[in-house]
Amino acid sequence: MGVLMGKITLNRVYAVRDHWSLSASGTFHEGVHLVSGDVGTGKSTLALMMAGLFPLSGGDIEKEEITTSMLSLQFPELHVTGLSVAEECASWGVDPGEILDAAGLTRRKDASPLSLSRGELKRLQLACVLAKDYDLLLLDEPFSSLDCGEKAKLCTRIGQKSQGICVIFTHEQNILPRVTRIWEIVDGTLVDCGTPPCAFQHWRHVPPVIKKLTALGSRPDNISPDDLREAACRIQG
C-alpha cells in the first residue's frame, strides 16, 4: 500500500498591487522548504496566497492530500484574540498548561498577552502553532524577535517534524533548520534553487558563512548549524 504524499502546486500565480508584483510557479512536496528574499519582495504575500488568504490576480493553486493547514504570521500581536495568556492558548485549540510550560510563561498565564514582550509573544505563538501537526505549515518570519537560543530551539522543533509540508519564509541568514529545498524571490519572481547542497550555486541569498566555507573547499551538506559546524571541522581536519 503506497503512502499518500501531500503537495501544493502554484500554477503561474501572480499578485499585482500598485507598482509591485509577484509571480510564482512550482510544487512544494513534503519536507521543509526555505523561501528567502529581501525585505519587501513579497514573502508574506506569498505565504498568504498559499494559505488561501490573499486574492490572486491570476493563476491557481492546487492542493493534494492537504486537509489541515496553518499560517503563522510575522507579527505575533496580530494573532492575539484572547484577553489573557491562558485564553490566548485556548484560542489556538491547545492545552494552555503544556504550552505555557514549554514557552516558559506559566507564571504569566493571567496576564494580558499584550503585556508580554514581542519575543515572549512570538515564543507563545510558535509554541501554539507547533503543538499540532498540519499537512501544510506556513511560517512567516518565524525567527524574528527571537534570540539565538530560541532560534536554535525552533530549528530543532522544525527538524523533528516527520510529515507534512513546512514552508519557512524568512530573510534570516545565520540560524536555519535543515531543509529539503531552497527557493528565493528575485525581482518579483519565485525561483526554485533546488536541493542543498547543489542549490547553493544558484542561491543569490546564500548566507555568507556558506559562501566562505564553499570558497575554502568545504561545502556544507545543508544549512543547519550542525551542517556548518561539520563543514568547518572538515577544513581544520
Partner: protein, 217 residues
C-alpha cells in the same frame, strides 16, 4: 485634481452644499460624477460601502418614525462620497504642505506634521485590522461582536506603541519645534474649473428653488 488646496476648499463647499439642501446634494453629486474618478476610488476604499449601509439604516429609522429619512440619506451619502474622494486623492505630505503654506514653518509645520501622523496612523490601523481578521480566520474563528474587545485592544496597543516610537525618534533626532519646507503646488486648468464649479454648487444650494417654482406657477 492635483492642487490639494483647491481640493480641500472644494470638498468643504460641496459638503456644506450637500448638507444644507437636497438640491445642493444633487448638484454636489453631479459635481462628483463629473470631476472625480468615482468607481476607481470606491474600489480602493471599502469602508465607504459600510458607511453608506449604516446611513441607510439610520435613514430608514428616521423615515419610519419622523420622516425626512430619504432626504437625510441622499445628503449624507453625497457627503460620504465627497469625503471618500478627498481621502482617495490625498497624497503623503500634502497636509504638511498646505499647513506650512497657510500658517508658516513654525505652527504650520507642527500642525501639518500632526495631521500627517494622524493620516498615517489611520492607514496603519486599517492594515492592522485586515491582519487581525486574517488571524481570526487562521484560528477558525468567526469575526463578530466577541472580536471587538480583543481587536480594539490590539489596535489601540499598536497605535500607542507606534506613537511612542515616533516620539522617541523625534526626540533622538533633536526635534524641538517647527521645520523647513517650501511647499509647491501644481494647479491645472481642470482644478480651477472644478473649484469654480464647486463654489457654484454652494450658491445653487442656497437658492430657494421651491419658492421659485411657486412664483413661476
Amino acid at each position: 485634481m492635483q492642487d490639494p488646496r483647491i481640493r480641500i476648499v472644494a470638498a468643504a463647499f460641496l459638503s456644506v452644499a450637500a448638507f444644507i439642501s437636497l438640491q445642493g446634494a444633487a448638484a454636489a453629486f453631479l459635481w462628483w460624477l463629473v470631476f472625480t474618478p468615482r468607481l476607481q476610488i470606491a474600489k480602493r476604499i471599502r469602508l465607504v460601502f459600510s458607511l453608506i449601509l449604516m446611513i441607510a439604516f439610520f435613514s430608514l429609522v428616521l423615515e419610519l418614525f419622523g420622516g425626512g429619512g430619504l432626504s437625510y440619506f441622499s445628503r449624507m451619502t453625497v457627503i460620504v462620497l465627497i469625503g471618500m474622494w478627498v481621502f482617495g486623492e490625498q497624497q503623503s505630505g500634502e497636509f504638511l504642505s498646505i499647513s506650512v503654506w497657510l500658517f508658516g514653518t513654525r505652527i504650520g509645520f507642527e500642525l501639518g506634521m500632526v495631521a500627517e501622523m494622524g493620516i498615517q496612523s489611520l492607514s496603519l490601523v486599517t492594515a492592522d485590522l485586515d491582519r487581525i481578521r486574517i488571524a481570526e480566520k487562521i484560528k477558525g474563528m468567526q469575526w463578530g461582536v466577541h472580536s471587538l474587545v480583543p481587536a480594539g485592544l490590539v489596535l489601540v496597543h499598536g497605535a500607542l506603541s507606534r506613537a511612542e516610537d515616533t516620539a522617541e525618534l523625534l526626540a533622538v533626532r533633536g526635534y524641538r519645534s517647527g521645520g523647513t519646507l517650501c511647499p509647491k503646488f501644481i494647479t491645472g486648468t481642470i482644478d480651477c474649473v472644478a473649484g469654480l464649479c464647486a463654489s457654484g454648487v454652494v450658491f445653487f444650494a442656497l437658492i430657494p428653488v421651491s419658492e421659485f417654482f411657486i412664483l413661476y406657477r
